[in-house]
Every structure is written in structure tokens, then in C-alpha cells.
Symmetry: C2
Subunit: 143 residues, 2 copies
DNA sequence: GAGCAGATTAGACAAAGTCCAAAGATTGAA
DNA sequence: TTCAATCTTTGGACTTTGTCTAATCTGCTC
């Protein structure tokens, strides 16, 4: 696994490499995505980008998230029926989902193995295997 | 695994057992859910119930789906970001998801095993492990 | 019958996401 | 530098999924 730097010049180079213009808005959004916080919703990205000052519209956030997703820079996590979450971690990995709080934690795919998956119908190919471990606080752990 | 009959009298008994009244609408919805088609969205259930004649409102379909889900008669499948699907198969099982067509197929949990799941934080308990195999038609199989 | 609890309903509402047409920004050739 | 083509951004309309509410309906029991 190669370490990627996500400072401004690196992100500019990354976008250029994918043939898209490194606009101010895209850089702001990239900075939010590739920063500390993982698994953000579009709304959360919008809020973070515009935190200090309004810099980006809702439409651009959605445009950019879909663009980055198509380029493989981020991936979608489908676990909360209310909204898609965007994940800058594109290494194969899985998720622990706290159904009470909505909190999501990564599970490294390396440690984990699945056996017994059925044969695919001919002509079909696997795009990915997503494992979601749904957890909650146990009865005992609550007062 | 116990075979369950889903004819009208059995469903009536099932609802009574859970302390809810077997109304006409609930029976119609149960009939759609427990019939041949699995993994239906709320909208599809509504359409099927009202196919021959209008019998149920949108609100009642949602009420009933949530009620059945709370009673454990059906479960939600979170795989399509656009809508929740409802699954009358409450046996532990997983899903194959065709990302192009949206088609969903069950994968029996018996044949399948996952190893290497991390320890849960203390006080947390697993509610379920969902595995989604995302597949699509291979390049080769398309013209 | 009256009274009561629970169920159904139309339609208002909210949130996520897409779409569009207008305006703004970049680019690169002349 | 200028100009036009192209790409990008944007407000806001729109769509879809799902929830909520207040009014009505249904089915009991007395
Ligand atoms: Mn900023
Ligand atoms: Mn019918
Ligand atoms: Zn992740
Ligand atoms: Zn299923």
C-alpha cells in the first residue's frame, strides 16, 4: 500500500493526471475528503467546505463527488438508508456500522476472509464484496 | 429451517400471534411480500397491492412495512442507495447485487463463512453481518 | 345504540439527489 | 491581446423516498 500525500500540490497533480481541471471548488472538496474525516455525506462535505466562508454550491458538491467516484478517487458506502457516504479510502476494506449512532469504522480487508461464495453465473464478474457488521450497545452496557 | 405457509389463514394467525389486527390492508400487503417476489421496494409493494383495484394508501404501506420489520416478519436490505428493499426471507442470508440491473439474488448463509472479524469494543454486540457481492456483466460477455 | 381504541387516509412536509439554463472561468489558437 | 470554444459553477426547480398529522373509518364492548 502506497502512501499518498494529500497536500494541495499533490491533489492538483492528481486531478491533472485524471484529465480534469483543478478548480478552486474541487480542491476545497478534495481537501475535506482526504483530510481527517472519513465517511462523510454530501451534506457534511458541503458544510465543511463552506465552514469559514461560502465557497461551493450543493450542485458542485454532488457533481464533484460523482466525478471523484467515477475516477476511483473515492468510493460510496451504502449502509445508511438515508444517505450515501463517501469514503476516501479506496483500499479494499469493510465497515463496522453502529446502528444507534450511525458511526462507521473501517475493517481492514487483509485480516478478513470469506469462503464459500457461490459460483457466479457465466458472463458475470465481481465488482466488489462489501461486508457490513452492524453493531449496537449491548443491553448490559446500558444502565 | 421450518417451512412456513403463507396462505391467508396462516398469515392471519401469524399477525394475531404478534398482537396486531389482521386488517384487509395488512393481509393484502403480507400476501404481496410473502408471495413469489422478494426484495421489493415500498413503491413496488404499493403498486402490486393496488394492481387490480385500489385497496391501500402509501401511508399504510409504509406503516405496515415498518410494523412487519419491527416484528421481525421481514427485514430491510440496504444495497440500492435510492430505496430500501424489503425481504420476507428472515433466515440469515446474504445478497448478490447486479449493479447494472438492480437485480438481487439470495446467497445462503450456510455455505458461507467469514473469518478474521475484529474483536468488538466492549459493550458492543453484533446485530448482524451483511455481505453484498456486487456483480456486473463482464466486458467479454457484452457484444 | 354510544363510546373507545386502533387503523387508514389524503395530503402536507422534509431530505437527498438530479437537472437545467444562465453566468462565470479557462484555454488555446490566431 | 483577443476571441471563441469549452468546461465549470450555480440557484433554484424538480423528483423521489419516506414521515407526519389530523380527520375519518372500523370494529369492539357495554
Ligand atoms: Mn475553505
Ligand atoms: Mn388485492
Ligand atoms: Zn471506509
Ligand atoms: Zn434476501
Amino acid at each position: 500500500m502506497e502512501a499518498i500525500s494529500y497536500d494541495r500540490p499533490s491533489v492538483i497533480a492528481l486531478l491533472r493526471k485524471h484529465g480534469i481541471a483543478p478548480t478552486h471548488q474541487r480542491l476545497e472538496i478534495a481537501q475535506v475528503l482526504f483530510g481527517r474525516c472519513h465517511h462523510l455525506s454530501a451534506d457534511q462535505v458541503l458544510a465543511k467546505v463552506n465552514e469559514s466562508q461560502a465557497e461551493t454550491s450543493k450542485a458542485t458538491v454532488y457533481n464533484t463527488l460523482n466525478l471523484f467516484r467515477d475516477l476511483g478517487l473515492i468510493r460510496e458506502v451504502i449502509v445508511d438508508p438515508k444517505r450515501v457516504l463517501y469514503d476516501p479510502n479506496t483500499e479494499p476494506h469493510h465497515h463496522l456500522y453502529n446502528v444507534d449512532t450511525g458511526e462507521i469504522t473501517d475493517i481492514d480487508a487483509g485480516a478478513l476472509s470469506v469462503s464459500g461464495l457461490p459460483e457466479l453465473p457465466t458472463g458475470m464478474v465481481t465488482e466488489g464484496v462489501d461486508i457490513i457488521v452492524r453493531v449496537r450497545a449491548s443491553e448490559a452496557s446500558l444502565g
